[in-house]
C-alpha cells in the first residue's frame, strides 16, 4: 500500500480527515522549507503538498504567484525541490509528500528521469495543474513504473462524464477545486461543494479532498464534514511571507505556519466528534 493510501486508511480508523498544507518549496528561503514541513507535521498535517516554483504559474492568485517569484529568486529548481524531499525523508518516513506544479519543469527534466529521481528521494505523488487526462498518458506510464500516485483536479465546471475520465487515471486521492478561480480567491458555497464531492464519490473509491477558499479553522472544519481531506495554501503562504517580512528566522516562519495549522486541526477534529 502506498504511503497516501496508508495515511487515509489510518485516518479512516480514527474517524479523522486529512489536513494537507501547501507551501511553495524555497519560499521565503531555501533553508526554511524542510523545517516548516516537520513543524507542519507536528502541528497535525497528514500530507505535505510542496509547490514547485514556476515562472508562469497560471492557476495561482497573487499570494502564491509572489511565493513562486521569491522561490525562483532563491534559485529553487525541480531538482532542488526533490533534494528537499530527500532531506525531509531522513527524519520522517511516514508522512506522504506530494509535489504540485506545472508541466514544463517536469517535461524539461524528462518524465522518466523525474520518476526515477522522485522514487529515489521518497516522493509519493505528483499533481500537474496544466496536465489534464487527455495529455497525461506518457507521464502516467513513468509515474506508475516508479510507484508514484498521480493526483488529478476536478473543478466545479467538470461535467459528470469527465469526472469518470479523470478518476480512471487518478490514484492516491482526487483533488476537488472548490471554486472557479485562482488560488486564494473567494468564499465557499458549502452546499455546492458537498454536492460535487458526492458526485465524485459516487464515481470512484478514492478519497476526495477539497482545496481553494479554505483559510481558517471554521472553513476547514466545515469542509472536513463533507470531504476526506482539506488543503490549505494561500492562507499559510501569506502568514509565512508576513513572518519573513517581520524578520523572523526559519523557526519563527515555521512557527507562524504551524500555529494556523494547529488551529485548523483542532477545528476539524472538534467538528468530527462534535
Amino acid at each position: 500500500m502506498s504511503r497516501i493510501a496508508e495515511c487515509f486508511a489510518a485516518l479512516e480508523q480514527s474517524g479523522r480527515r486529512a489536513l494537507i498544507p501547501y507551501v511553495v518549496a524555497g519560499d521565503p528561503g531555501q533553508e526554511v522549507t524542510v523545517p516548516v514541513m516537520h513543524k507542519l507535521v507536528a502541528a497535525g498535517a497528514n500530507i505535505i503538498e510542496l509547490g514547485v516554483p514556476f515562472s508562469d504559474p497560471m492557476a495561482e492568485g497573487p499570494v502564491i504567484q509572489l511565493a513562486h517569484e521569491r522561490a525562483l529568486a532563491n534559485n529553487v529548481s525541480l531538482s532542488t525541490v526533490l533534494s528537499m524531499v530527500r532531506e525531509f525523508r531522513d527524519q520522517d518516513q511516514a508522512t506522504p509528500v506530494l509535489l504540485m506544479g506545472y508541466a514544463n519543469p517536469v517535461a524539461r527534466m524528462g518524465y522518466s528521469k523525474f520518476a526515477d529521481a522522485a522514487q529515489a528521494v521518497g516522493l509519493d505523488a505528483l499533481l500537474t495543474v496544466d496536465m489534464p487526462p487527455e495529455e497525461v498518458a506518457a507521464l502516467n506510464i513513468e509515474l506508475q513504473r516508479a510507484g508514484l500516485d498521480n493526483i488529478f483536479l476536478v473543478a466545479p465546471t467538470t461535467p459528470l462524464p469527465r469526472i469518470e475520465k479523470i478518476t480512471e487515471r487518478a490514484s492516491g486521492f482526487v483533488y476537488y477545486i472548490s471554486l472557479k478561480g485562482v488560488t486564494g480567491a473567494g468564499h465557499l458555497d458549502m452546499i455546492e461543494v458537498a454536492n460535487k464531492v458526492g458526485e465524485i464519490r459516487a464515481r470512484c473509491s478514492l478519497p476526495v479532498v477539497v482545496g481553494f477558499g479554505i483559510k481558517d479553522a471554521d472553513s476547514a472544519a466545515a469542509v472536513a464534514r463533507i470531504a476526506d481531506g482539506v488543503v490549505v495554501g494561500s492562507a499559510l503562504v501569506q502568514l509565512m511571507a508576513l513572518a519573513a517580512e517581520r524578520g523572523e528566522n526559519a523557526d519563527g516562519i515555521a512557527g507562524a505556519a504551524a500555529a494556523l495549522l494547529a488551529d485548523m486541526r483542532a477545528g476539524m477534529d472538534a467538528g468530527q466528534t462534535g
Binding site: 508562469d56 496544466d130 496536465m131 465546471t157 467538470t158 461535467p159 472557479k180 478561480g181 485562482v182
Partner: protein
C-alpha cells in the same frame, strides 16, 4: 523542400488539437469544459454557410477586405533580384491583421451568448482589435497588458480606452505579453461562465490555434489569388514575421500544399541570438509546455520560461504557435531571424522609398526579404506580409533616435 499532401494537412490538428507532437490542451481542469464547448461550437459553425456569409460580410464591410497586394518597386530595386509584393494588412480597419481574427471570434462569442470579452495584448494591436469588436457588439471588454508594454505602447492604450475597454496593467513576472496571457487565463478561470477569451495568436489551448489560423487564412487565400491575377504565377517565396505566429500562418496556410512556394518565418533576434536578448524560440529554443500548448519555448535548463527581448512588443513572446513548431520540424517552413537594428533599418527604408510606415513587427519580415530577394531571379515573386502599420511605433523609433516630443 518538404512536401505536404492535402490529406496530411487535413488531419492537422487532430481532434485533440495536436500538430504532430505539438499543440494539445494543457490547462487547468476548470477550463476544459469551456474549451470543449468552444470546440464543438466552432466545428459546427465553421461548416455552416450562414456563418461563413456573416463572417465574409464583416470582413468586406467592416474590416475593408480584400487588402491590396502592392508591388514595392522602388524599395525592392535597391536589393536587385526578385520582385517584392506587400500584402497590405496595415490597411485593414484598426491597422493590422489582428482584426481578421477578432471579428471571427466576436461572432463566436455572440453565438455562445457571452456578455464579456477579455484579451491579452503585447503591442496593443490585438487589444485594439478586441476592444473594437466589443464596442461594436456592445460587450464589456477588459484587456490585459504587461506594464512594460503599457509604457511602450501608450498610444494604443489610450485608443483602447477611447473604445470603451478597460486596460489592466499586468505587474507579475516579466510584465510583457506572456504575463498578460497568464493574467487573462486567470480571469477566464474565474469568470468562465459569462466571459469569452479572444486569444490573439495561434497559440494557447486547442481549439484556439486552429480557429485563429482559420480566421487569419483569409490573408493567404487573397494573396494567392491576387498573385496569380497580377503575375500569372505563384510566388517563389513568402515572408512573414513570427511572434506567436498568427499573421505568418495566415499567409502561409493556403500555400502549404504548393510545393514550390518557399516560406520564411522571421523571428526577432533582438540584440542578437548569441546575446540571449531575443525572442526566437524556433531558432534558439526547445520544445516545452506553456499557455496551454506544447511548442518551442525560450526556457532555461530547469524549464523556467526566459525573459525575451525585441524592439517590437508584438514579437516579444517566449513561445510560438504549435503549428509553426510542426512546420519547422517537418521542414516545410524555414524559420530565420532579423535583429532590432535590421528591423529599424527596414522601417526607415520603407518609409523613405514607398511612403509606407510598417509596424516594427512587420519590419522584421521586410528586413529578411531584403536579404532574400537578391538570391532569387528577376522573374521570381516574393510576398511579404505587411502585417500592420507603424504609427504605434513612432515614439519608439524616435526614442531610439534620441528625439523627445
Amino acid at each position: 523542400m518538404a512536401e505536404i499532401s492535402r490529406e496530411l494537412l487535413a488531419g492537422v490538428p487532430d481532434q485533440n488539437g495536436h500538430f504532430g507532437e505539438y499543440g494539445g490542451r494543457y490547462v487547468s481542469e476548470t477550463l476544459m469544459s469551456a474549451l470543449d464547448d468552444l470546440d464543438r461550437l466552432y466545428t459546427r459553425l465553421s461548416a455552416d454557410p450562414e456563418f461563413q456569409r456573416e463572417l465574409d460580410a464583416d470582413l468586406a464591410n467592416y474590416v475593408g477586405r480584400p487588402s491590396p497586394l502592392y508591388e514595392a518597386t522602388r524599395w525592392a530595386e535597391q536589393f536587385g533580384g526578385a520582385r517584392i509584393f506587400l500584402k497590405r494588412e496595415d490597411l485593414n480597419h484598426t491597422g493590422a491583421h489582428k482584426v481578421n481574427n477578432t471579428v471571427g471570434q466576436a461572432l463566436l462569442a455572440r453565438h455562445m451568448g457571452k456578455t464579456r470579452i477579455i484579451a491579452e495584448t503585447g503591442a496593443g494591436q490585438h487589444g485594439v482589435a478586441s476592444a473594437t469588436v466589443a464596442a461594436r457588439l456592445g460587450m464589456e471588454c477588459q484587456v490585459y497588458m504587461g506594464e512594460e508594454d503599457v509604457r511602450r505602447q501608450a498610444l494604443n492604450v489610450y485608443r483602447m480606452k477611447l473604445l470603451g475597454a478597460e486596460v489592466i496593467p499586468v505587474t507579475s513576472g516579466s510584465r510583457t505579453l506572456k504575463d498578460a496571457m497568464n493574467e487573462a487565463m486567470r480571469d477566464w478561470v474565474t469568470n468562465v461562465d459569462d466571459t469569452y477569451y479572444i486569444i490573439g495568436t495561434v497559440a494557447g489551448p486547442h481549439p484556439y490555434p486552429k480557429l485563429v489560423r482559420d480566421f487569419q487564412s483569409v490573408i493567404g487565400r487573397e494573396a494567392r489569388q491576387q498573385c496569380l491575377e497580377i503575375t500569372g504565377k505563384l510566388p517563389a517565396a513568402l515572408v512573414a514575421c513570427v511572434g506567436g505566429g498568427s499573421n505568418a500562418i495566415g499567409l502561409f496556410y493556403p500555400f502549404l500544399t504548393d510545393d514550390r512556394v518557399a516560406m520564411y518565418g522571421v523571428e526577432a533576434a533582438g540584440l542578437g541570438l548569441d546575446t540571449g536578448e531575443h525572442a526566437a524560440p524556433l531558432s534558439a529554443g526547445r520544445p516545452g509546455i506553456l499557455h496551454g500548448n506544447r511548442t518551442y519555448l525560450m526556457q532555461d535548463e530547469n524549464g523556467q520560461i526566459l525573459h525575451t527581448h525585441s524592439v517590437s512588443a508584438g514579437l516579444d513572446y517566449p513561445g510560438v504557435g504549435p503549428e509553426h513548431a510542426w512546420l519547422k520540424d517537418i521542414g516545410r517552413v524555414n524559420y530565420v531571424t532579423a535583429d532590432d537594428r535590421e528591423a529599424l533599418d527596414a522601417f526607415v527604408q520603407l518609409n523613405r522609398r514607398e511612403g509606407i510606415m510598417p509596424a516594427l513587427e512587420s519590419s522584421h519580415a521586410l528586413a529578411y526579404a531584403a536579404r532574400l530577394a537578391p538570391t532569387l531571379g528577376s522573374d521570381d515573386v516574393v510576398i511579404v506580409n505587411l502585417s500592420g502599420r507603424g504609427d504605434k511605433d513612432i515614439h519608439i523609433v524616435a526614442e531610439i533616435n534620441g528625439i523627445e516630443f
